[in-house]
């Protein structure tokens, strides 16, 4: 998006462009929240960056799905040109190459596609080919544009797929929900890199608060405006995650109650906001709160 358009959008009241939904651990409700926020908006894009275990498409069941393979460049050896110097084997930090019976062997699944062996080979005996490591699945579900990334099991890194999924974000200011992988590892960092706002989902347990603290550290490191939505809240029960938010001055944008009916609908792969009106209201309200919070952060004079 060019700078003139960007400032126009900001003047219009800070429309949230990209919201990353994350949590310290799996199972807190990241996918439920990101899927339902996307469905509650008039129009939105949903990007599933949890490429090891994507689940969003199970809810959206996108129509007219289109698949695109994602590939990385893996070395290919010209055995005739190879002089057996073994510089490639010695160079590879990932141990993806071996020299056996006068031939260089390549181990695709261990290779990180850095291109280093091709660079160091004095005989120029190494070229590259595109190896498929996963795919993108794109389609629509009513008002939502759905893009999911899938990493083939056993592959070295999901980062190239996450990059492709993020590249699918519509560039026209459409609200985009990014469903992040759990935890705070590098795949999460990659997923939130371009986000305008980070919404952290937390459970009301000791574990939940502990895991929230970890992911909070991450969003602060990346200087992302952030807020929390408390999930599976029990009435009249102390909420360690809420306490943490108060202590740290983190805005709590909403509370989703623990609700057996909600759990049942969700665990059957249905989208709450499309199933019951009161859930539609709950998530629309949450979406509004997130937009307001982001607008407050996106003051015209803030650096982005």
């Amino acid at each position: 998006m060019n700078s003139t358009l960007a400032s126009m959008v900001m003047e219009m009241g800070g429309i949230s462009m990209k919201i990353a939904v994350l949590s310290g651990k799996g199972g807190t409700g990241k996918t439920m929240v990101s899927v339902n926020l996307a469905a509650a908006a008039q129009r939105a894009a949903y990007l599933d960056c949890d490429v090891e275990e994507p689940n969003g498409h199970l809810y959206f069941k996108p129509e007219n799905p289109v698949e695109e393979p994602v590939s990385v460049k893996i070395p290919k050896i010209d055995h005739d040109a190879c002089s057996g110097c073994r510089q490639c084997v010695d160079f590879c930090k990932f141990n993806a190459l071996a020299y056996i019976n006068k031939k260089v062997m390549v181990f695709d699944d261990v290779c990180h596609a850095c291109g280093g062996c091709a660079i160091v080979c004095p005989e120029r005996a190494i070229s590259e080919w595109d190896k498929t490591i996963g795919k993108l699945l794109s389609g629509t579900s009513e008002t939502v544009e759905v893009h999911s990334g899938f990493l083939k099991p056993g592959q070295a890194s999901g980062v190239p797929i996450i990059k492709e999924v993020l590249a699918k974000a519509p560039g026209d200011g459409t609200l985009t929900l990014i469903d992040c992988p759990p935890g705070s590892a590098c795949v999460v960092m990659e997923s939130i890199k371009d986000a305008d706002y980070c919404l952290m989902v937390a459970e009301p347990t000791l574990f939940g608060a502990h895991n929230l603290a970890m992911v909070h550290e991450l969003v602060r490191l990346f200087e992302k405006p952030h807020g929390v939505v408390l999930n599976k809240c029990l009435e009249d029960s102390p909420n360690p995650s809420e306490v943490f938010c108060t202590e740290q001055g983190i805005p709590v944008l909403g509370e989703i109650p623990f609700d057996l009916e909600l759990g049942a609908i969700n665990s059957n792969g249905q989208i709450l906001v499309r199933a019951q009106a009161h859930y539609a209201a709950l998530f629309s309200e949450l979406l509004l709160k997130v937009k307001e919070a982001d607008a407050r952060e996106t003051a015209p004079d803030s650096q982005r």
């Binding site: 090891e52 084997v89 590879c92 930090k93 990932f94 141990n95 993806a96 190459l97 071996a98 020299y99 056996i100 019976n101 031939k103 062997m105 181990f107 699944d109 261990v110 990180h112 990493l151 056993g154 070295a156 890194s157 999901g158 980062v159 590892a185 590098c186 795949v187």
Partner: protein, 124 residues
């Protein structure tokens, strides 16, 4: 010929190590000179591709027979390409397995497990 066994310690009474690629040492028995030596396994601390690196190490040592409790797919691919014979160990100590091997009592290892891909950027 030279026989290798992944072991926990570098002395003759050592136990066999449960892992091939990350064993701290390899015991090497030279049947011609009858010498018993130990080499450090430089692949043990690799982030990833330990199987490949360990197998390369064994091939470079001109090992002809490997006695091991298990072997990963990547190591197996390297060793098979090098025409190294792989046998399954049946006893806890290295010595017992050497004796069994000499009497032709060890079976070849035919099942190779999927890699651990235990590298620092797995699922990066």
């Amino acid at each position: 010929m030279k026989i290798a066994i992944p072991v926990d310690e570098n002395h003759p009474g050592t136990a066999v190590c449960a892992s091939l690629a990350r064993a701290p040492y390899y015991l090497i028995k030279d049947t011609v000179s009858n010498e018993l030596t130990f080499i450090e396994n430089t692949a043990a601390n690799s982030q990833g591709g330990a199987g490949v690196k360990a197998a390369q190490l064994l091939v470079d040592q001109q090992i002809e027979a490997l006695l091991t409790p298990r072997c990963g797919q990547n190591a197996a691919e390297v060793l098979t390409a090098a025409k190294m014979k792989i046998y399954k160990t049946e006893y806890p100590s290295a010595k017992e397995n050497l004796t069994a091997f000499n009497s032709g009592l060890l079976a070849t290892l035919n099942e190779f497990h999927a890699g651990f891909h235990g590298h620092g950027d797995g699922g990066h």
